[in-house]
């Protein structure tokens, strides 16, 4: 179980990006974090991943504190961030550096098969399309079999069709080993398609504004009335979170300028 206890982050320049987020995530659960820009979504994710440790509160995974990147936590960034000097297969196997060669090759092959890119194994990253590259990035993060996978707006740079395709694909992959997924997104549809729970965040400082359960069976029909109903709830919550933010922004105009650099 992943537990966040009053996780806060104040950057050295004084920007108060995250103001105490508490959250418990069960193993295998999918949580979407949504919110307007500047509400600390990415900061929260980076704190969980140990890339930018929290300055207040704590992140614990199975009662072990996370203060730097942890082997049970994988990360997928907004950009694929493949290493251009490694071919696709070596990129996927990047996190398996210290395993025996045979095991590495076998796991990489299995992962590539799973994301449907076996035929691209020997290609360079530059030869892939955006969607393919992001699939390789997901495979790379999943190959070390993390218990928690963090995704930071993973599909936001892709076109709409590729995006829905990859959302389904991600759920497919998730079903294999059922890792905990935490997906930061600003796409309401994406949040509802993927998540068991949608956390709506509001800015200055970033905190959880509302929490919406998505109690729909998978696979979810994006056109169904139930989907629409949840979507409306999320949209209303988002709307309210931003209204409050607008009034807060007037009282604290300075933070915004510096804060914009961080997310």
């Amino acid at each position: 179980m992943l537990v966040l206890e009053r996780v806060g982050k104040t950057y050295p320049n004084g920007v108060h990006a995250l103001g105490g987020v508490s959250l418990g995530v069960e193993r295998g659960e999918i949580v979407a974090v949504i919110g307007g820009s500047g509400c600390g979504k990415s900061t929260l994710l980076r704190a969980i991943g140990g890339l930018d440790p929290a300055s207040e509160g704590s992140v614990t995974l199975d009662s072990e504190r996370v203060t730097r990147p942890h082997e049970k936590i994988g990360i997928v960034f907004q950009e694929p961030r493949l290493l251009p000097w490694l071919n696709v297969a070596d990129n996927v196997g990047f996190g398996l550096g210290n395993r025996p060669k045979a095991e590495r090759a076998q796991r990489v092959a299995a992962a590539l098969e799973r994301v449907g890119l076996s035929d691209k194994a020997k290609m360079w990253p530059r030869e892939l399309s955006g969607g393919q590259a992001q699939r390789v990035a997901i495979a790379r993060a999943l190959v070390p079999r993390p218990q928690v996978l963090l995704l930071d707006e993973p599909f936001s740079a892709l076109d709409a069709f590729t995006r829905t395709d990859l959302q389904d694909h991600l759920l497919d992959l998730w079903a294999d080993a059922r890792p905990t997924l935490i997906v930061v997104t600003h796409d309401v549809d994406e949040a509802i398609v993927l998540a068991d729970r949608v956390m709506v965040m509001c800015p200055r400082p970033g905190r959880i504004f509302d929490e919406i359960e998505v109690d729909l069976p998978r696979p979810r029909d994006r056109q169904s009335a139930a989907f629409d109903f949840v979507k409306r709830r999320v949209l209303v919550a988002l709307d309210r979170s931003l209204n409050r933010a607008a009034s807060a922004a007037q009282s604290e105009p300075k933070a915004g300028a510096g804060a914009a650099m961080w997310w």
Binding site: G49, L51, R68, P69, H70, E71, G74, I75, F77, E79, R81, L83, P84, W85, L86, N87, F94, G95, G97, W124, R126, E127, P144
Partner: protein
């Protein structure tokens, strides 16, 4: 992608004849101007329209080149020059790599070291020659030092800049996968820096060849630069040009050697390749 496209085109049922022609002919096109000029000059001298004493025609240069090669003088002098460049290049690259890497990696070292190095860089390197001769004598040491100084700056600057501009996002991937410091250097920084480093080595080598001429012109009893001076003092322009041609060949060959050695490591580069 362009390579693949060309490959399919040439193997397809209807190879475009125009493409074939242009692929062979394009490099040849660059030869047209020098060859025409050479032939014209040869013709002018043969016809007796010009004496060709100070600007010898190609045939004379060629026979001088062959004569120098037959006596072994060309090879001996080339080897001497090559050895100087190799020594200077080796020392310059070694020092530049260590300092450039340190300055690129550590802001403290950079703040400490870089202003001094930049100040030294502003001095035209040839200006050091009198000092080097006073310090190190007129023989090999001062020549090799001058070459090393010439090689140092581009390599230092290139490597420091390359390390500083390594994509922060890729470094973060390394962090996310918990690479140790040494793994980070080996698996992220080194490959990321390599393309720029190779370019800086090539420009360093170019300066090395420039400075060996300067060093040999200022006093040498052997080397290609000595052939230049010898040809000037004895009034043998053909010998001068033969030495210049030797410089061009050896310089290009060593540059090519770097490119060839680095090529297998840089196949991933996303560059526009022109045939």
């Amino acid at each position: 992608m362009t390579v693949a496209a060309q490959g399919t085109e040439t193997t397809s049922a209807h190879p475009a004849p125009g493409k074939h022609w242009s692929r062979l002919a394009r490099p040849m096109l660059g030869l047209v101007l020098p060859v025409v000029l050479a032939v014209v000059w040869e013709f002018v001298v043969r016809m007796g329209w010009a004496s060709g004493r100070l600007a010898p025609p190609p045939s004379v240069i060629f026979s001088t080149f062959v004569d120098l090669a037959r006596t072994g003088e060309l090879q001996r002098n080339t080897l001497v020059t090559l050895a100087r460049v190799a020594a200077g290049f080796g020392i310059g690259v070694a020092v530049a790599t260590v300092l450039g890497a340190a300055a690129g990696y550590s802001p403290l070292v950079r703040r400490l070291l870089d202003p001094t190095i930049q100040a030294l860089r502003a001095i035209p390197s040839i200006a050091w020659v009198p000092l080097f001769i006073l310090w190190l004598g007129i023989f090999e040491a001062s020549k090799v030092t001058l070459i090393a100084v010439g090689v140092f700056f581009p390599v230092y600057l290139g490597l420091m800049g390359a390390i500083q501009s390594v994509d922060r996002k890729l470094v973060e991937v390394g962090r996310a996968f918990r690479l140790s410091d040494s793994e980070m250097v080996r698996r992220i920084l080194l490959p990321a820096v390599l393309p720029a480093y190779v370019i800086s080595l090539r420009s360093g080598l170019g300066l090395g060849w420039m400075f060996v001429v300067a060093a040999e012109l200022m006093g040498a009893s052997e080397g290609l630069g000595y052939l230049l001076i010898d040809g000037q003092q004895l009034g043998k322009p053909a010998e001068i040009i033969a030495a210049i041609v030797a410089f061009a060949i050896v310089g290009k060959a060593t540059d090519w050697l770097i490119v060839l050695t680095a090529a297998p490591f840089l196949r991933w580069e996303d560059v526009v390749r022109s045939e």
